[in-house]
Every structure is written in C-alpha cells, then in structure tokens.
Symmetry: C2
Subunit: 340 residues, 2 copies
C-alpha cells in the first residue's frame, strides 16, 4: 500500500490519537498555540531526542516518544513545576511508516495521560534522523533552585541508580531479554518513571532547599548542586540498585561507574534540612516512592567527596555530555577504573 | 587546531554572543527557563528548520539561524502576538565547526535584536542534519483568528510575492550573484523581513478581521482563510513583485506559479472591512511598509477565485507542504502550467 507521509497525514494521525486539548487551550492545527491566562511565572523547557544517539536498539517508537517527554517532565519534577501544556517538533526520516508515526503519537499520549498535560500542537519536518523536540510549558509561583543547599542539609535521591547503565549494557549485548534485574534495568532505559507527583509535593511543602534532576548522571548532578550552592557534598551511601553488585561482578563491571555515571535516571537529587527527613520519607511513601539519604552538605570548596568503608576520595567530575557521548556508553570494567 | 564541540562549548559560545536575558527572566544554563509573571494568554510556537531541506545552497549558518526565528516571528506578526522570549533546540552535525556554531549564535542575536525578544535557553544535541528548532513565547490579550473574515471585507497582503520562488531558482542555478531584481529575490530567501511591527499595530488597532502568514504559499494562505471563515475569496489583483514578469519571461517561468506557490514570504495575508482601508494604508506607511488590496471576501463556498483580465478561474489549492517538498521546488515553466 502506498503510504503518503506529509504534514497533513501526520497532524491527522496526532489528532486521531491525541484529540484536541480541553477548552481554554488553542486547537491543534491553529497558527500558534496558547494556554489560558493564569498567574505565576511561565516556565518553558525544550529537550530534543535524536534517534541515532538517544534511542538504543530495542526501544520502540512509542517508548522513544514517551521518553522524550520524560526528559522535560523530569526537570519540571525537580523544580516543582506542574507540566501544563506541551508541543512537539518532529523530524521524520524517510524510513518511517505511517504506523511508526501513529506509534509516536501513542507515545505522546502515554506521556500526556501519565503526566497530565494538554497537548497543544507542534511542527513536522523531514530529516535524516528521527528528531523529537519536546516543548513543555508550565506555571510556577516558585521554582526550586540549584543553589539553596545549606551546610548541614541532608542529600537525598528519589530512587536507585545504576539501572540505566546496566540496561544499556544488556540491550547492546543481548537485546531486549531477561527477567528480574535485567528486566528492571531495561525498563529503566525504555520506560523511565520520573517522580513527578513526589517532586511537586516536595516543592509545594518547601521540603527541598535545592534540587536538580539526574538526567546527566548522578555525579554531575551532585557537582552542579555543590557548585551552585558553594558547598562540599559528602556522599557516604552509594544509592546502588539492588543486585547491581551481583550483575557487575558477573560482567566484570564497576558498580561505582554505573551508579555515578550512567545518566538518564530522571530521579530527583535534592537537599533538605535534617529536621525534614521524617516528613520527606512519609511524603515519598504516600506516593509509593522512597527517598534515600546518601550524603550531606558540608563546608568546603565545591567538590563531591565519596566515602566508602575504607577510603575517602574526590568523585570524578564528569557525566554524560551531549556531543561527547563516548563518556556514556563506555561502561568500563572494574580493572580499567582502578587504573584511572 | 583541535576543536571540541560539546554541550558546554556550545552553551559558552551562545552566552558569549547573546549574553544573559534581562532581569526577571531565567538565566541561560538554568534547568528550566521562565518568563516573569504577566497577564494574558501564553502563546507558544515552535518551528523546526532542517539544514538538508530548509537551507538552500549559498545561505550561511548565520542567515539560517536568523531565518529559523523569522518563521515563528512571522506567525506572531500575523496573530498580533508580541514575541517575548525564545529558546532554541539545536541538532549539530559532526561536520560543523565551532566557527559555524558561533555563526548560528550570531544569527539568533540578529533575530533577537531585530524582533526584540529575550533569549532564555535551549538544548543541544548531535544529529546527522543541522536542526534548529525555535520556540517562541509571547503573551496576548487577543489573538487574531483565521476565521473572522466577513462578506464584503477587503483582502490585503503586506508585500510583494514571487521573490522567494525566483530567489530559489537563481540560487540553485547561478548561486549567490546578481543585483537589482536578482539581489532582492535572493535576499527574500536568505533574509526575509516579516512585518512584525505592522502586524502588532494592525492587531492592536483591531484592523484585521482575520489573518494568517504566508509561509506555506499565498494560495494555501488564501484557502485557509476562505475555509476557516466559510466564504469565497476573489483575487482580482495578483501581488507580483516588480520586474517579476520580465524575469519569468526571460527564464520561461509562469509568474502566477511564483506568486501563489513559492512560499516562505512571511508576509501577512489578512482581511479588513472596506472602511478601514485608508487607516490600514496610513499605518503601513508609518512603518515603512505598504499593503496591497488584492481581493475581497464574497458569499460562496470556501474557494479562492482568481480573476485576470480575460478569465475567472478557481485557484489550485496547493502549497508547500513539508515532507512533500517537490511541490515547492518544482517551479514549472509557463507551458507546463497551461497543461494542468
């Protein structure tokens, strides 16, 4: 069957799958999109997903589209901003079929229903790569800053780390297989779940003195908080995913590498005064999440120290930087790391 | 010299070239961008420019980046929305040098200074194509609709048509050469000037009953207005660029084809009650622009008729549709058009 993919057929599919936004918002297909008038600062975030570099083998179009939205929702979660409306700019490579376009639309729908925003439009183009640029708009009375960490604050994370690095490793070598740990690790890559509700609740109750999401890797998130708040962060509890050590031992990998440098976990890394700890834990529990205290903010120059049972060392300041992606996929075996 | 292009070097260059936005706006480099609180609907538009398909040979990186913003500014002009803040998502192909990135930033700066918005951030990625996705945010008390044209209204355009088709034709065959008409035609392609101030003033004075920009071609803009307003539009005056007939004669092209189907003119196509005509003309003159009455809105089904000295015919409903670009570059010689 001859499939004609043009701007109109793509808009038609998106309309069929997603429908029009609720009253007060512009209609899909309008010349410009708009949100109803409202108070607070207008918050905007764009994040581009590129097929070649951001979509690992084994990930579906639907998952890729949903994940593109996860990356903007994750920032909103960490900053305490409720997603309100989203647009998407698409670059469609010639290889894509109408069925793939429908799956992209379904991925946007998954995100829309999960994170509760209105989908209000976008743009379509032909491109060599699959390009999904998500634009999220929200409004906020107060945005949680990176720079509010105080000496004595506890450093917390909203989940386990290491899954995404392990997931990419498994996907690359064995494809989309496995159960137990492998399944959870792959799921962390193809279907990450940013703690949006928890982030919004923590922000609303002013329980985060500083925060950032962990999309560029835990180490870099910690450094960003330390540098923005001009303080030292000491990590005494590595938030390793359960069974990560077994997995690493089996595959000759270094758990520390996977926990601190995998990236794309979309968890919140934040600080709070010690006296808030119980309330934070209760709140997390009420959303079916848990937070883990992994360190504290201390006086000193802006570095991140990592204390293990036997030693105290400065954590390497690196992460996953776009256009320099070798950092990310290079999951080094334990032996190599020792030589660094 | 070894050039390292990564996220940080790109952000650094953009910061050097563009600087931080004025107080009240988020800083470039923040996790999310925001605009100060304010009244009115929040208007958002995204438009993706892809190097392979949207940047003709002979156009510089700086012009491409500026033009990417022109395409969103043009919609804002037609809708009467003042551009307030912009973001840009970049896909950077490996072939690009740091100097090219600087030129992209300079193009954004050109647009920023010309159209008066704050540049508040974006995202960078590696991609096979050069991808520039512009996101513009503004606020408006009232958005000029496509659907407000009334029977008896005059149909106007803010400029001459045919330049862009001729410019692409010249660029493709002869490169960036010529003076007089050729220079103006090429300039229309590489440095289009959307009538932003005029559009805002027309909207503020409620002098547009309906409007749309002409980025997808004049014919399609006219059809969109006719269909949205459930009326017939009759064109009695083809807004051909001066000397277009000479150019077409010389090259065996059909002026009608170039005027109605070139696209990317970024002019405003709008309707207004007849009694506003003088005021509209005076206003245009005050901005160094002129508007041309080219037709009227009449009763009938949603079509566009074109009356020339000898005949009355239905204008073909087609334009330049993304992912179906043959329509655009196929500038047909006069003889071929007659056969249609």
């Amino acid at each position: 069957m001859f499939e004609k993919i043009d701007e109109h057929s793509i808009i038609k599919i998106f309309l069929e799958v997603l429908g029009q936004p609720k009253p007060g918002y512009s209609r899909i297909g309008d010349d410009v999109a708009y949100l109803p008038a409202g108070g607070g600062e207008v918050v905007v975030k764009c994040d581009m997903l590129v097929g070649e570099t951001d979509v690992p083998q084994g990930m579906t179009c639907r998952e890729a589209a949903r994940k593109a939205f996860v990356s903007v929702v994750s920032d909103f979660a960490a900053k305490g901003v409720k997603p309100e409306a989203a647009l998407v700019s698409l670059g469609i490579p010639p290889i894509l079929k109408l069925e793939d376009v429908r799956n992209l639309a379904l991925g946007v729908k998954d995100a829309k229903e999960e994170f509760g925003f209105q989908f209000i439009g976008g743009d379509t183009n032909e491109a060599k790569d699959l390009v999904i640029d998500c634009i999220m708009v929200g409004r906020a009375e107060r945005i949680v800053e990176r720079s509010g960490a105080k000496i004595g604050d506890v450093l917390l994370v909203t989940g386990d780390f290491g899954y995404t690095g392990a997931g990419l490793y498994i996907l690359k070598r064995y494809g989309r297989v496995g159960s137990g740990f492998a399944e959870r690790a792959i799921s962390a890559v193809v279907r990450p779940k940013p703690p949006l509700e928890l982030g919004l609740a923590l922000a609303e109750k002013k329980l985060m003195s500083s925060s950032i999401d962990s999309s560029d890797g835990l180490a870099l998130s910690l450094y960003t908080l330390a540098e923005s708040s001009s303080a030292k962060i000491v990590i005494y509890n590595m938030p390793a995913a359960p069974e990560l050590t077994d997995f690493c031992e089996e595959h000759g990998l270094n758990p520390e590498e996977l926990v601190f440098y995998s990236g794309e976990e979309y968890e919140i890394v934040f600080t709070t005064p010690k006296e808030n700890l119980d309330e934070v834990q209760r709140l997390a529990k009420s959303f079916g999440r848990y937070v883990r205290a992994i360190g504290e903010v201390t006086e000193g120059r802006s570095v991140v120290e990592f204390i293990t049972s036997c030693k105290r060392k400065i954590l390497e300041r690196r992460g996953w930087i776009h256009l320099n992606r070798s950092d990310r996929t290079k999951i080094r075996p334990e032996s190599a790391t020792e030589a660094d």
